[in-house]
Symmetry: C2
Subunit: 153 residues, 2 copies
């Protein structure tokens, strides 16, 4: 199996995982610090989904560090198959969470302009959603690389 | 290139495309018939996204019919590459539209229970969102098959 940029056990793969972890953490942090987020199902789902993403990316980052240190090749079909399934599931959930939260945020900020009238932190909702989209973009990159590797076995 | 179930120019591929077309049309129909949908950006975006999906699936269904009638092989790398890009873009947009609309629908139906108090058709919003998710599932199946074919070239 060819080694690809962003593949498991490579430096670029590790950078992608660390990026996913950091942006997912920042998204959760921004949402948790926003006033009134808990009344919205979409925002609670965003936190749950980013939490799952954070755990998955941290686990794979640790595996990448281990593989880089002992110079072990992680690119065998069974492991890549596992990474593909995990990446696709978390990527789909992240996109779903980011989009549902974006839908609610746009409703409050643009459609009805309720942000000034209610005790909610619209700016933090927006920041959290933007960070969730960046996380999704990084996970989508990882999953495309993994799926491509699996297809080329 | 191996012929795959759901690939271009096969009967199963045609069935998938017709399914995508029908569910996208039904989703648009349900949303257009719902009272008060136009005040929500998410619902307007759902209609736009399902419209794009409808056009793409109809185009590929026609191409499948043509290929089946004259028994032409559509599975060459350049065409499959085009199908992959189109399928991925429309699948991502469909999921984004379905999720943002689902976020808003859940907000109205569950979080605040505003459906009985406002002149909006919540039931039709729910039906339209459910149909959009089915459309996305069918497009995601097509795109996975296409991407797998491209990876195995």
């Amino acid at each position: 199996m060819k080694s690809l940029i962003g593949g498991p056990g490579t430096v670029s793969g590790l950078v992608l995982r660390v990026g996913q972890f950091l942006f997912a953490s920042a998204s959760i942090g921004a949402m948790l610090s926003a006033l009134g987020f808990s009344t919205f199902t979409a925002f609670s789902y965003l936190i749950a989904s980013m939490g799952l993403q954070l755990a998955w990316s941290l686990g794979l980052a640790c595996l990448d560090v281990y593989a880089l240190r002992i110079k072990r090749d992680l690119q065998n079909p069974v492991l890549v198959c596992l990474f593909v399934v995990g990446d696709w599931v978390t990527a789909t959930l992240s996109l779903a969470a980011a989009c549902s939260s974006a839908g609610v945020t746009i409703l409050y900020v643009t459609d009805f302009g309720l942000c000034g009238q209610l005790p909610i932190s619209c700016r933090r909702f927006q920041i959290s959603v933007a960070l969730a989209f960046i996380t999704w973009f990084l996970v989508a990159t990882s999953s495309l690389v993994m799926f491509w590797m699996l297809g080329s076995v």
